[in-house]
Symmetry: C2
Subunit: 349 residues, 2 copies
């Protein structure tokens, strides 16, 4: 059976098997869930890092620095780029792509891009499942690059263990979104292109925002553990200290093109990984992720049953004209479709 | 029956009935779909305008100007604010709220806020359904204010007839998102706070981006109608003209606090409304919206059947521990839940 051969190939760390498995999952083709199911026991060893931020923030260059840094430390790295503007996903300048070659010729690095267009709300589930494949394959660090400063964009990063938000001195909208509290809190903040004017101001804005929200944001963390990097890392004695045992998101200035500050970022990432393990937060986040995944798989299966394996689509097409003529409401039509689907489902159950 | 009384009250233009109906819909309480279904024939007369943009762009002040402008023109106005930072939804400074009083004491204006938190992916459906209530009530212009520069935020605005994107000279991330093509195209662009430095540059950036994307973005518009405001409105003879009969999104400079430029915005809105009607685009957009709504109602109904009216939730809770112990995969658990749900559904069908 193809699924078992693929699972076996992934366990044996065969790149062609991994590439085929990713295509299978991305396109939702027959057997992709069986494959993920078969690999379930091999999943859960990788440390997953989500990197998000507006287009033009230099995320790809930063990801490149992280790849190099982790390779230097002897770690294998898998990368998923969910970003139409990223060189990894083919949206950027040729120069960027060539620059990447140095990283991709290394067999311990695997880079794969995913399209954001057309996938709709299911993208975060699919991105997560592709991460699961990289995890099962044995990559020790997995980087998920997404683009945007809206709620749905950070949600993709939040399927990782650690969420990194990358801004630049010009990120007026991003900083406003943070201030207004419409963006979820990240675990680590980066102000990239920090050699440009305004970097220190953006850093200060983020720190002030974190100071205001801190008491609220970390209530759920049990006060048992006190990380040794405590509250002093940011050197802001004037601000109230974070509750003992909580994580205080650092704000790191980098210039990825010059390779400056990226070592500090890797340090912060590894500290956060240790914190997650020590505090039990890693366990909690992973449990939550498995619960969410199960719910999403149930919803996805039902949507597919309805729209691909029943007469719902035909029913909708024929009923829509009557709705437009005012003979019935969309709710009456939806009700008819649901009733018909339930009858059909009963036969297959 | 309560639903019929509410429908009757809305048709008689009774504000308390409207307010109660909105609460019913917002909270998804019993009968809300019957109410919307009963009002279906009364829906479709209002012109709906979506206003979105980053927090701090001055959207609320701009919406205030639009309310005043439309009241001056004798139109009734309904407003839905889906924005935690808006004075309408209670997130902003007291000063802003007091400033709003002038508008809200007018009985021909109705303002209602909606929370963005917790509602998840269903928010755009609910916002659309609240608009339907305001439409059935008889408001001639409906303004939907949302916040953000991500894909999901503009999606809410896109449930309107006309989508307006508001940026400010500081909107680095928003402009980058437009350039990178990760934001859907709006029908009208506004650069607010245009008295600040950089406004003309942002306007030019948007215009260049529109010039690049034009051929692509408007392919679907039939070349039968040539609006009299043609391609010359923006005074950019050097750029290739838009295909005849297509809409060329204008970029309008405003200073909402000073009330400057907002008359131009209302003019552009009314021109777009006329264009939509003349070109058949209004009909097409509304048809598409009804189709999308029907699909969403089907999916929502099934989700509710599964998670609120079956044993799926109990099944998930008891199965999750076995998944965490590695005894089964999330896919196997999801499969069990789906099978059980199908059997249960068969009984109710």
């Amino acid at each position: 059976m193809q699924v078992e051969r693929l699972a076996e190939g992934i366990r044996k760390r065969e790149i062609p098997a991994l590439a085929r498995a990713i295509s299978l999952v991305e396109n939702g083709r027959d057997g992709f869930e069986s494959l993920l199911s078969a690999l379930h026991e091999d999943i859960g060893r990788a440390y997953r890092i989500g990197v998000t931020g507006p287009p033009g923030a230099g995320k790809s260059t930063l990801v490149e620095c992280l790849i190099r840094g982790y390779r230097k430390a002897g770690k294998t790295v898998g990368v998923i780029a969910v970003d139409p503007t990223s060189p990894f996903s083919g949206g950027a300048l040729l120069g960027d792509r060539i620059r990447m070659e140095s990283a991709t010729s290394d067999p311990s690095v695997f880079i794969r891009s995913m399209a954001t267009r057309g996938a709709g709300g299911g993208l975060s589930t699919t991105a997560r499942e592709v991460c699961d494949l990289l995890d099962a394959f044995g990559f020790e660090r997995i980087l998920i690059e997404t683009v945007g400063v809206g709620q749905s964009e950070l949600a993709i990063a939040a399927t990782a263990d650690t969420a990194v938000l990358v801004l630049v001195p010009e990120s007026g909208d991003g900083v406003q979104a943070l201030k207004a509290g419409i963006m979820e809190i990240a675990d680590i903040y980066v102000v990239n292109k920090a050699d440009r004017p305004g970097a220190e101001r953006v850093k200060r804005d983020i720190e002030v925002m974190l100071g205001i929200r801190r008491g609220q944001a970390y209530r759920h963390v049990a006060p048992h553990h006190r990380p040794e990097f405590g509250g002093g890392e940011r050197g802001q004695e004037a601000e109230p200290a974070a509750p003992a045992g909580s994580w205080e998101p650092p704000v790191i200035l980098t210039s990825a093109v010059k390779g400056e500050g990226t070592e500090l970022l890797i340090e912060a990432l590894e500290k956060h990984r240790e914190y997650l393990e020590r505090s039990g937060e890693l366990e909690r986040r992973r449990r939550e992720r498995i619960e969410r995944l199960t719910r999403e798989v149930v919803d996805r299966t039902l949507r597919q049953l309805v729209w691909h394996h029943s007469d719902a689509e035909v029913h909708l097409a024929s009923g829509l004209d009557r709705v437009l003529r005012g003979e019935r409401s969309p709710y009456e039509l939806a009700d008819e479709i649901v009733s018909a689907v339930r009858k059909e489902m009963a036969h297959g159950a």
